[in-house]
Amino acid sequence: MSTIEARKITKKFGDFVAVKDADLSVAAGEVVCLLGPSGCGKTTTLRMIAGLERVTSGDIIIAGKRMNELAPEKRDIAMVFQFYALYPALNVGENIAMPLHYEKISKPERDRRVKRVADILHLTDVLDRMPGQVSEGEKQRIAVARAIVREPNCFLFDEPLSRLDVELRHSMRGQIKEVLAGLSKATVIVTHDQLEALTMADRIAIMRDGIIEQIGTPHQVFTKPANVFVASFIGTPQMNLVRGKFEGMSDGKATIQFGGEKVELGVNPAVAKLKPSQVTLGIRPRAFTPVDHSAKDTIVAAAELIEPMGAETLVHARTPDNSDIRVVVPRDVKFKIGEKLHLRADPSQTHIFGEDGKAVRA
């Protein structure tokens, strides 16, 4: 079975803890994205799975076998590097065939396999060229071809699309997803691009400062962020996070005070258990509906900057307590700068984060 399991893996470089007690399991055929800002330890985690870094503590289990002490070449994995890492002295065909050499496969069989993956990834025409003579997109596909030419236990991708331009990235995302779907191997993709993670992954692990903050399906991490960090990291435009004071709850509505004003917002019932305290209120820009007049459950804010984005319009507005909030409205809803907005938030999309930053949710 092609599975990957990381059990409480930790990596220290001297005193610096790059990854701390990370738990991750990837089932056969599953694609898991490690997502996080740069320097969060996601690449280190991947390199530990690959065997390019030793774990300081914890276990790496691939296909049911503990791999901690095994060198990369003995782990039966394939990896695609951020900068492709093509062999400069070998031509494209030889690059793709490289992993097969070590498996002692006969030449005709090797050629057949190279041709097969070259067909899949549209590389047939460039097989005789040197890596320096092909385009960025082709380099990327060569790197993928080299990874899938063998039948390894699992696939690891390190920022596979970060060097491509937007258009190419878009089409490669689809291609890689398609190729991976046909292979049904455990796959880990490292990325800092949430769109990449949301579109390609079956599950996403969001990392910060060496700690996995949340693992869940793209839908889960978007709709139920575990904490303030995940909430702010996932989704564009960013979720509005406003500090306020939770005063109590009645009829499923939480009274929250900020900027001298009190609003009553529909929130998750679990919030009722919360004592009056400082909280962070999280509402996505698309969860607001502008209404005509002020009400108990509306937030008031003055429009400051209006950015039409085509289908929708992004409005930056300022609340009386001087917090910036972003509101996305359909393009036919028009506002003027300085105009007061009365915004009603969708209760199912209104998140309350406690003082520890964790979401309060049933």
Partner: protein
């Protein structure tokens, strides 16, 4: 260069109108003149090697081997001869006596053998060491590298006395292994530093990819790293060769009669005559002496250019 109009320098062809592209004719000419000035001493030696003693000493110097159909006045023209070249290898030391071998065939062999062996040896050892320093740093890596370089921080004349004493005790003075060993050590610091910088420039990802694709560490070095630093090897080889080829002091004091190299023999051939300096002969030896290094550099020049410009351009 903010102005779009042609400037004085541009009209002269000394500056290009646009930032990139081929050099103007003025620039090319300028470069040619500078190169000529650099090349002039070498050219003078080559020309002199074809002159007889009287012509070699003539003032004003005779520069041209032919009058180019009467174009050049006779006073600047000499009649070329190969006599100097034959006397490099055998000549009569006193007038009328039979020609004897000068031993220069042996000295040329010595120079080629000693220089190439020691530079290659230094290249093999130095490349392995540099790879180690680059990829498997020791605790205090930089200190080791610094210590290696300290041996080249002093002028050779300062270290020569202890070296002579060491060679005496070890019985290495005057032998091939002795001088080859010395030159290998002499080239190592430079080789290690050069090769380390080439290895440092390589993307470690490529090596990691090879590891994942199933290569052992040995294969990573030979199949992946080494092919990428060929230009560096060529550059290091040529620089090491030139340094060793021209080395005089160690060779003077540590080679014997049988292992003498050309620079030492050249000095003795010139100084030992008693009849003043034989300029033609001297120039002929030097011209022959130039050829091997010239050929090596010429055949490696593409690699060399890539080697010396390595790392200066972001890939």
């Amino acid at each position: 260069m903010a102005e779009a109009t042609t400037t004085f320098w541009e009209r002269l062809g000394l500056r290009k109108a646009s930032g990139v592209g081929e050099a103007g004719w003025g620039q090319t000419l300028f470069a040619a003149i500078i190169s000529l000035i650099y090349f002039l001493p070498v050219l003078l030696i080559i020309v002199t090697s074809f002159k007889l003693q009287t012509e070699a000493l003539a003032v004003p110097p005779k520069f041209f081997p032919t009058s180019f159909f009467g174009l050049i006045p006779d006073q600047y023209v000499f009649s070329p001869t190969l006599e100097n070249f034959t006397s490099v290898f055998s000549r009569a030391y006193t007038a009328g006596a039979a020609a004897e071998s000068t031993g220069f065939d042996r000295f040329f062999f010595n120079s080629i053998f000693i220089a190439s062996t020691s530079v290659l040896l230094a290249l093999v050892i130095g490349t392995l060491a540099a790879y180690g320093f680059s990829r498997y740093p020791l605790r205090g890596n930089d200190t080791y590298l610094f210590i290696i370089l300290t041996t080249r921080m002093l002028p050779a004349i300062v270290v020569i006395i202890p070296v002579i004493l060491m060679f005496r005790v070890a019985g290495l003075a005057g032998s091939y292994p002795g001088i080859i060993f010395l030159y290998t050590a002499f080239n190592l610091p430079f080789t290690i530093w050069m090769m380390k910088s080439f290895f440092d420039e390589l993307s470690p990802d490529v090596e990691d990819a090879a590891r994942i694709d199933g290569s052992s560490e040995t294969r990573v070095f030979f199949k992946i790293c080494l092919p990428q630093v060929l230009a560096g090897l060529a550059a290091t080889f040529v620089f090491g060769l030139i340094l060793t080829w021209n080395e005089f002091l160690f060779a003077l004091l540590l080679t014997g009669v049988d292992t003498r190299t050309v620079p030492v023999a050249l000095n003795q051939a010139v100084a030992g005559g008693g009849i003043g300096v034989l300029w033609g002969l001297l120039a002929a030896i030097e011209t022959l002496f130039l050829i091997p290094v010239f050929l090596v550099t010429f055949f490696l020049q593409n690699q060399l250019l890539r080697g010396v410009t390595f790392g200066t351009v972001k890939r």
